[in-house]
Symmetry: C2
Subunit: 341 residues, 2 copies
């Protein structure tokens, strides 16, 4: 849905029950976003829990409404089956608010699988796509390198990889302001012949496309400025993202031990906090879902209020920049057989 | 080849031309190993360059011999073709020294592809295997987690994945002293149904095997003590390894900037150096090649002398522990159709 004009507030619907903490973090996170943007917030969740948090945070008079829902879908539940069995679960209700044109943007910290499935089922996929993906920068140490897919799409055909590249390129251009983003395929060597079958076949498609394809890149190239968009399937992307998360924790512990003696007066903690954020960019800004007919930002389940605010910030920017319209146009420019990945 | 007895020195052949630096680093690295072990060193390389380094390091009277070779095979050359065209290249000659029974152990910092191909062609694969792999701990922050494969084997069939698990398990048991090592398959979720087709099919094979399979593990589980051996194909393994390397550099730079003001008197540098090593374990200890009929340790091309010494240390330990014999026995215990991956 296209926005009516820059003067109208952006309407943000938040799955208030989502994430590990629910309303005690999602509600203040959403309220904080109101201070930053010309926005209205719709909180979907258990009415009592949500209103209790609202009153705790003096929300009276603010641009907040509550839409009640029943229950939530957990990380351990089957996304599609649960959506069928619990049509009033918070994520299902929240997605319908967008579908019905009552919101411009959905933000969820809940089950990634359920949020993706709900978005695909209720909002539909962009023309020519058969799976959505999640993309964006994922490392504070490489904040201008976009990775697609982080959404656990496994066994992707080359045509789907090409559409990941196209979507990531639009994001890098619009969101990060990078002109003509360079797209690299993640592989085990830079030569065309290097890589698994998926990458070798995708290489051909990328080379024949209109995209600014710079060839294969390697694991170290997230940090080397060889490509602005790194394309991999969601198997590799998910492993890299979780690996980085685990490494960040291990590193934090290690540095805590080593630094607390070296830096007097608690200075170590601030640095480690900063580093932790650097290792977990999606925790700070959320991960935009690409390819569905609606702006959807998925946050990390363990996000606190500031993560919710950050995900809303990302979403507001996507809406303001008409990211979706540009993505649709970019997909339409791909060869017909390619977009249907 | 089995060792004759604990009293005989271990004979180490080093591809002296290998790596980014060649003799100026490989020669002193090899000499330093003589101080640590009951060993003899055979240096294969350009006679003049090697002898120049030997005289520079007062090697007279030490257990060192030089075997001349002509040229080397670079990272950018096709491994198999180059070996055919340059049969006197340092890696080819060094591998023949092992094949001829003149050495117990080969250490190379040269092109990984050429070293692997040379080992397979000259020494042959263990019964039932059709590709070798590289395994070992790769993160100082998770020094007791073995990853297999780091050797860039792409598009691996499930049976090959199973043999990676078996080989990694022997390494974890013998080298790290872990009883009945727990083996996990790297995937995007812990449930059996999670993962790409390769992982889902491999899951079945692992479950039916005699190995101590603990199911799927995720990217963060390198740090979580859920598995001692993490099995992935070489596409993912290589990407993870290079990603970690790039991250280590980026992190070092970041910390240098942030810490140099916080820690007075150059204390930051030592810490960063330590961290760098933590991120690059194969640079310190080399990566053992599993599955060929000979003990072969491959080092990182950018290794300095201490990396060469470390790779020799790893190799000496593998020989002393009869790692190869145990690996052969473990592979023989796999179902016949499995080992032939």
């Amino acid at each position: 849905m296209q926005r009516n004009g820059d003067s109208a507030p952006i309407r943000v619907v938040v799955d208030a029950m989502g994430g590990d903490y629910g309303p005690p973090e999602t509600v203040p996170g959403a309220l904080a976003a109101l201070e930053e943007h010309n926005a209205e917030v719709i909180l979907v969740g258990d009415r009592d829990s949500v209103e209790r948090e609202l009153s705790r945070h003096n929300a009276a008079g603010k641009a907040v409404t509550v839409v009640p829902s029943q229950g939530k879908i957990g990380d351990d539940e089957h996304p599609v089956l649960s959506l069928r069995h619990k049509p009033e679960a918070s994520i299902a209700v929240a997605t319908r608010v967008v579908k019905d044109g009552q919101a411009d943007l959905l933000v969820s910290m809940g089950s990634t699988g359920a949020s993706m499935a709900s978005a695909v089922m209720a909002l539909g996929l962009m023309e020519g796509l058969d799976r959505p993906c999640i993309g964006g920068p994922f490392l504070g140490l490489a904040p201008r390198t976009v990775m697609v897919d982080m959404g656990s799409n496994v066994d992707c055909r080359p045509a789907l990889m090409l559409s990941f590249g196209a979507l990531g390129s639009v994001f890098a251009h619009r969101f990060l302001g990078i002109e003509n983003p360079r797209i690299g395929l993640l592989s085990v060597g830079t030569e065309e012949a290097k890589g698994n079958r998926q990458v070798r076949e995708s290489y051909q498609l990328f080379q024949e496309s209109h995209l600014n394809f710079v060839g294969n890149v390697e694991g170290m190239d997230f940090f080397s400025d060889k490509a602005d968009v790194v394309v991999c399937d969601g198997f590799v992307g998910n492993i890299l993202m979780k690996f980085t998360e685990g490494l960040g924790s291990a590193l934090g512990q290690y540095l805590q031990e080593r630094l607390s003696s070296a830096i007097p007066g608690g200075g170590a903690s601030g640095l480690i906090e900063e580093l932790w954020t650097s290792m977990n960019l999606p925790r700070k800004m959320g991960g935009p879902l690409f390819g569905v007919n609606g702006t959807v930002i998925l946050g990390h389940g363990s996000s606190r209020a500031d993560g919710v605010t950050g995900a809303i910030r990302t979403g507001v920017m996507c809406v303001s920049l008409d990211m979706m319209g540009e993505m649709r146009r970019e997909l339409a420019a791909l060869p017909r057989s390619s977009a249907a990945g």
